[in-house]
Amino acid sequence: MSDANATDRRGFILNLWRSVFAAAGISAVGFSLWDRKGPVAAKRQTSKLQIASFAATGQNGKLAVARGSDRIRNIEAAIDALGGMAQFVQPGDKVLLKVNAAFATPPVLGATTHPDLVARTAALCFAAGAAQVAVTDNPINDPASCFELTGIGPAARKAGARLMLPRPDRFAFYSVKNGQLIRNWPVLGAPLVWADKVIGLAPVKDHHRSGASMTMKNWYGLLGGRRNIFHQQIHTIIAELAVMIRPTLVVLDGTWSMIANGPTGGAMDDLKATHTLIAGTDQVAVDSLGATLLGKSVKALVHLDLAERAGAGTTDYRSLNPVVVDA
């Protein structure tokens, strides 16, 4: 009997230790994860993204206008007039082309950047020694469809440029310095971080809310999130976008301009052969000049004035002595 008792006692003490250890373990886990106060209000996402200036040195205030019906000749002539792509793209640069691929419509309708312009610009960049060229946009319609149906995707691939689709992981929160609207807002940042140079390629389009969609409005395609709430203050947002991006170069393609039913268009009747392509380093000046293609005055487009006052450029494009060439 005494043996059995001893076994019992030994077994009990062993079990006691096991229970004590398990209890201590459970308590340790409980206390280490104890949260006395509970969650607080969700902190606003903080800005982590840094967007550098992409301006090429010594190229401030350059403006050129090419007049002609051939888009490819226009871009070549305009870049020539600015002193050639080598002024803007150094050998080894990674160049980002920000196109307007907003809608899944064919290039002939002029609602998006023309694929010929994309291909030719990419080729010029490569000729100037660019190591890589990428094309990006966060379109309104389905991104993959937009890039294919606008012809931009195939043109870019053919020219050796890569597409950077607006995948969720490519967005980061950003605040424009002194901005009112772009505060901790998701911006398509990965391509901007990747790039050494940024060139904006935009068509000239009528826009019912803002009056016109040109190179400044084109940066809207870098915004993510429920960005269309900014239509509530459309001119302010365009001016903030112009402050957000300091491009290497912008190209405003008015070979054909969408003069009605913008910014989607949908019929050839909405287009007008304006036979003008404007390139420059001052996006405000480029768009101010571009407004004339739509028959609009600088005063009518409030965002031009706002952008000028925010320091993004000048609306007085004549002061930049634009070089006008026939292509």
């Binding site: 398990a22 209890a23 409980g30 969700a42």
Partner: protein, 645 residues
């Protein structure tokens, strides 16, 4: 000496009454019997399944849920004392089971208390529910690799060595291969989580509250029993309370209780995931029910009242034993007891499960959440009619915490919080949703009761200052639960030529979020001709006027060359104009008159509106209201905001 089962019964009655008492005192007010520091969440906090679920789904243990640790620790020493002695759901079932067995012969009782293979179902349910919640804790643990790769690897190595040592000491029965699998699991998980950090591939949903007995009985008492009972005595509420979504809660509760007439402790034996959790733990309990000596006469009387159906006459199923101690009381030979050693005839410590069942339940739990989430309810398919109480976390975090206990619905002084049905997403069943048609008003502007009572901080504790956007919260502004929209096709001033603006009058925001614009509109058949004039009485020619209706102060008569004159009263064919010493002109016989109503038409100011729903509650269009709240612009989802500021 008092018999042990008498002690157990008294304890059960005490805890049951205490539970009911806490449900009653969960009433907003100043009296001693109202919410004045009574620990009304104590039973939910003691429930370790609530705490464990919240840990798995949030990797934190909120405030009072720490009580669950005490329950677990005691279980490690005593076994399932909580089930047999404390749980009000268990006590109620035991009582009903007693009623059901009263007239039975001993043989029949023994039959009803035999173990059934289906008792393993509760373990499946437990594993399924815990796996569904576990994704967050896993993601957090795996995230350790991204935060501190070296530390993570050291920790995994440490775990491996610890398990290896425990294995060699025969403290655990893992094979070496299992240990390697565990280490590989953590290393691969850590690397995966680091590589795919952008994609939240693991998503958790806390659904234990569906079946967890404490939320279950709380829900039933809060949403069904109290409103039904109190509808006659009016103690907890001056006005009868209603709860949308309570029908299913009540019927399920009733079914469970009635089933106990046939099968004692039906829920405990087959369904209860808390019982399953404690059952898994009770195998390590220090004290356990069993036989001291092997000289049993096999009379099986001990099984005649065995609540847990654990077969104490044979090898007792320790995980099923709820410590009712009836076997001790029944055994006429003094064999059964509560000993610090296993039964001498041996015991079955593990539940009746095999590896395949365990893996199936866990995998199903992990898979269930992504399957539900792919419906898009947490993405662009969010439900605008799902208006959560102020203080609710963003929906994903909310679903990681809410246990559907109904405490917020119980405490709400205006009865505006209700139990959601399937339409707000399957995951959201019985979670709180505001229903502005039921209750005594909308969501009261200066009240934060629901967020203070919430036992798991699914409604995070907010202050009145934060809710109202005052003082320290002046910059962030008031918390918005949604936004009001005017349905112009139903609104009386907009669609029916009828003055109203009850919504504007009741808007509690200052300055008001509802404002009006005034329009004068010619009433139906309001174009008439002057027939006769006697002083300010005009007899008109034309269709009959609505008798006596035009003197309300909102109707005016105008004619060419005259200004609008208010109508003082009218009959079907006469108009008496308000005399006004400044009005010199009079219409002449034959003049065309226009009778117009002045309408103040309501508009919503989206910057001011907080979505409290007082306007919707008050709207005189009683069915589908003419002003309604939807979840647009709610503070808890900044990315869904509708306007810039």
């Amino acid at each position: 000496m008092v018999k042990i089962i008498t002690t157990r019964r008294v304890t059960q009655i005490f805890f049951f009454l205490l539970f009911i008492w806490f449900c009653i005192v969960a009433t907003l007010g100043q009296s001693w019997w109202q919410l004045r520091g009574w620990p009304v969440n104590w039973f939910l906090q003691l429930d370790p399944l609530v705490g464990l679920g919240v840990i798995l789904a949030t990797h934190t243990l909120y405030a009072g849920l720490l009580w669950g640790v005490a329950t677990l620790v005691l279980t490690l020493f005593l076994g399932r004392f909580f089930c047999g002695w404390v749980c009000p759901m268990g006590a109620l079932q035991q009582f009903v089971g007693y009623l059901g067995m009263r007239s039975l012969e001993s043989r029949q009782r023994i039959e009803r208390c035999q173990p059934h293979p289906a008792q393993r179902a509760k373990y499946w349910l437990l594993l399924f529910l815990l796996a569904a919640a576990a994704a967050d804790l896993l993601a957090w643990l795996f995230g350790g690799f991204s935060r501190n790769p070296l530390g993570y690897l050291i920790a995994v190595a440490g775990l491996f060595i610890l398990l290896r040592v425990m294995q060699s000491r025969q403290l655990i029965r893992f094979t070496k291969v299992t240990l390697l699998w565990i280490a590989a699991f953590f290393i691969l998980g850590g690397v995966w989580q680091w590589w795919f950090a952008q994609y939240h591939w693991l998503s958790a949903a806390l659904q234990t509250g569906l079946l967890d007995p404490l939320p279950f009985i709380h829900r039933a008492v809060n949403l069904v029993l109290l409103p039904v009972m109190d509808g006659t005595v009016h103690v907890t509420s001056a006005i009868p309370r209603f709860y949308a979504g309570s029908g299913l809660v009540g019927l399920l509760f009733l079914s469970v209780i009635l089933l106990c007439l046939r099968i004692p402790r039906f829920y405990c034996r087959f369904v209860c995931p808390l019982g399953a959790l404690l059952g898994l733990l009770s195998r390590w309990a220090l004290w356990r029910i069993g036989k001291a000596e092997d000289r049993c006469r096999e009379c099986r009387q001990c099984e005649a009242h065995c609540e847990g159906a654990c077969a104490p006459s044979q090898r007792i199923r320790i995980s099923e034993c709820v410590l009712c101690l009836n076997c001790m009381d029944q055994c006429r030979h003094g064999l059964m007891g509560y000993y610090p050693h296993p039964s001498v005839v041996g015991e079955i410590t593990e539940p009746d499960l095999n590896r395949r069942q365990v893996i199936s339940a866990v995998v199903a739990g992990f898979a269930a959440v992504p399957i539900l989430r792919v419906q898009g309810g947490l993405a662009d398919g969010w439900k605008p009619q799902l208006i959560r109480p102020p203080g609710a976390l963003g929906e994903k975090d909310f679903l990681s915490r809410c246990i559907k206990c109904g405490q917020c619905m119980r405490i709400c002084p205006t009865n505006v919080i209700h139990a959601a049905d399937w339409r707000c997403g399957m995951e959201g069943l019985w979670t709180p949703v505001l229903n502005f048609r039921i209750g005594t008003s909308g969501c009261q502007h200066n009240c934060v009761a629901c967020s203070q009572i919430c036992p798991t901080a699914a409604l995070r504790p907010i202050t009145v200052d934060e809710r109202m956007g005052r003082n320290a919260f002046a910059d962030s502004g008031p918390l918005r639960t949604g936004m009001a929209f005017v349905d112009r096709g139903r609104c009386l001033p907009w669609a029916m030529d009828t003055p109203c603006i009850v919504c504007q009058e009741n808007c509690p925001v200052s300055p008001k979020a509802i404002f009006t614009r005034t329009e004068f509109r010619t009433i139906r058949n309001g174009s008439v001709k002057v027939g006769r004039i006697e002083a300010n009485r005009i007899t008109i020619e034309g269709p009959d006027l609505p008798s006596g209706r035009l003197g309300s102060g909102d109707y005016f008569v105008s004619w060419e060359g005259g200004r609008a004159v208010p109508v003082q009263s009218n009959t079907a064919d006469t108009l008496i104009l308000r005399t006004d010493p400044y009005i010199q002109t009079q219409p002449e016989i034959g003049t065309d008159l226009l009778i117009a109503v002045r309408l103040q038409q309501p508009y919503i100011d989206p910057v001011r509106c907080i979505g409290c729903g007082v306007c919707e509650h008050e709207c005189p269009v009683r069915g589908q209201r003419a002003v309604r709240i939807t979840a647009e612009n709610e503070t808890r989802h900044p990315q869904r905001r509708m306007i810039i500021r």
